[in-house]
């Protein structure tokens, strides 16, 4: 084992994937200069130089600021023999290429009757919680969950970031990976040897008996912190990190809820049609008889993200909100005390 940052783990996964398969190329804005720190040689930077020196300009390609053609060309390249990793930097930039994601990446294999395989990975970072304002703070993974044909991953720690990205590159279908910038600096143990984490297998980040908390992306460390606090109050919380939203490990969540009888979902996306909304629906349909309390969602309210730290900080799921939700579903807190947790924020 070695200790690595989330960002370092992504860089290591990209390096391993580039070394393992010559068809892997990295395409994106500023990838040559290793601006985001994922296309560099890390500790051996001095000896080896960055990816550009290691793999050459044919495989490490800076792009113009043209998301539509970056995404479309990566799809076309994937349909004809390459396995591109596309760095789109900010998740909000994905909208510039929406047609290519929805009409080409997601549909080409299906509508051409299986003739195409589209092995391409689209990486993007969600800069929420960092005072970057409304244009940079989006958490848009639920929009893409609504597009059949795409795979969606949301790694929450360095170990998962590395293992899931290796699997993403191996996938013959388009994969979108959403990285929370709040997690970039987080450190964790990562094996020295290569490993891959299968999609559709949730990680039980903490076992518990009273309440299941399904947490997504940066909500995972918050849920773990909440669980620790709640343990002191005698409440045993199980924290499940789905790791991949498409495919989604329904079974792991159902199994847990059947044991605990209570479900809280912490999802940094906007509330309406969030991943949390979908997970709530699945559990309501498939495990209703196990539920001893209403399912609670802890999400970002349906408002845009303001710039001022005084305004932004309160919006995302944090340990306090998760704790309160758990107290409510366990009856430790009266329902009336904290209506803002469940009621949609007024849109004025």
């Amino acid at each position: 084992m070695t200790v690595m940052s989330y960002l370092g783990a992504i860089g290591a996964a990209q390096r391993e994937a580039m070394e393992a398969d010559e068809r892997v190329v990295i395409i994106g804005e500023d990838v040559e200069a290793n601006v985001y720190g994922t296309t560099g040689a890390g500790k051996s930077r001095k000896d080896k130089g960055d990816f550009l020196e290691m793999f050459g300009a044919n495989r490490i390609r800076n792009t113009p600021i043209s998301e539509e053609v970056i995404v479309g060309a990566a799809i076309g390249a994937a349909m004809t023999g390459l396995r591109p990793i596309v760095d789109l930097s900010y998740s909000s930039f994905l909208y510039m290429a929406m047609d290519q994601f929805v009409n080409q990446a997601a549909k080409n294999r299906y509508m051409f009757g299986g003739q195409a395989s589209i092995p391409v990975v689209f990486r993007s970072a969600m800069f929420y919680g960092l005072n970057t304002g409304a244009h940079h703070s989006d958490r848009p993974y639920p929009m893409f969950m609504n597009v059949p044909g795409l795979k969606i991953i949301v790694p929450s720690n360095p170990y998962d970031a590395k293992g899931l990205l290796r699997t993403a590159v191996d996938s013959d279908d388009p994969v979108l990976t959403f990285e929370a910038c709040l997690l970039w600096g987080s450190k964790g143990e990562v094996p020295e040897e290569e490993y891959k984490i299968p999609f559709g297998q949730a990680n039980v980040a903490r076992t518990g008996d009273d309440v299941t908390v399904v947490a997504i992306s940066s909500a995972v460390p918050e849920a773990l912190a909440a669980a620790e606090t709640l343990a002191g109050e005698g409440v045993s919380v199980e924290v499940i990190d789905p790791r991949t939203l498409v495919p989604f490990d329904t079974e792991a969540v159902i199994r847990s809820v059947q044991r605990t009888g209570r479900l809280v979902i912490a999802d940094p996306a906007h509330r309406t049609c969030s991943a949390a909304a979908e997970i709530s629906a699945i559990v309501a349909e498939e495990a209703f008889e196990s539920l001893r309390a209403p399912i609670m969602r802890v999400t970002t309210p349906d408002t845009q993200i303001p710039f001022s730290p005084a305004l932004e900080k309160q919006l995302y799921p944090n340990r306090t909100k998760i704790e309160d939700a758990v107290r409510r579903v366990t009856g430790l807190m009266a329902n009336t005390l904290n209506t803002e947790l469940t009621s949609p924020a007024p849109r004025m």
Partner: protein
Amino acid sequence: MDLSSQNLLEMQRRMLRIRRFDERASKMVKRGQIPGTVHTSIGQEAQVVGACMALGDGDYMSGNHRSHGHPIGKGSPLGPLMAELVGKATGVCQGKGGSLHLADFAVGSLGESGIVGSSIPIATGAALSSKVLGNGKVSLAFFGDGAANQGCLYEAMNISGVWNLPVVFLCENNQYALSTPAHTVTSGVIADRAAGFGMPGVRVEDGQDVLAVFEAVTTAVERARRGEGPSLVEVVTYRFNEHSEGLRLGTDYRDAEEKAAWVERDPIVLFRRHLEREGIATAEELDALEAEVLAEVDEAVRFTDESPYPDPSVAFKDLYTEPIGAIA
């Protein structure tokens, strides 16, 4: 341009295939035998075949909603194409694509697109893969005068220029985006836009002349194959039918005289005259060729009629390369 008699006859054969296939498809739409919408290439055969035959068998292309001509021009067999139009299991896309989304990877057809301009980046990406893999393949993006005003074309031209990609941007300027005359929504000349990206841009004024199209596109393809980068070729042509089959607009947006003048310049009739005049083939031989193509279309329809519809379970297939769990 040194073309064997065999190639010249093949050009005529492919133009005839497109014409007779689309004529039949048009009839089948009117009889209710083809569901959905169909856009024919009737009148544009020279532009399509001239471009397709400038490509090699292994080369790639992508297209648009006026979709049947492209794979036919690239050599795709008619049976699975017709079966696809009807939605049969033996369709080239197993009945999942239909007229708007034909693709035949076996002939390098990476797919037609129902979204105007959307397949241009796909062809650009195919050119990127040939460049990175060094396999010498060229890629061609078909798009209309309507798509010439989509932003993705210019993103694609720019990135192809800086990456020196082996791609040909082929604008099929049939002068109307549905009812909208191209000149009323297009500033300047489409071919001239190439200059802004430092690539050659040529305009084939007579897109009804298959050899003129072939020559212009061959120049672009050869340049791409030599590693000298992308080109833009604009071909001026005309569709003889309505925008889509069965479409009835209250207004006639095309001048009758203009239409008659273009219909007079039927690319198949013109090329037949050329073949006879140059002694490439006799009238009898060309009649026989026409009969052969008609028989091919008949056979494609017979194949379609005899084919089963897909099993309903096929609706849930091929979304992913391997099933990822139950589909809700």
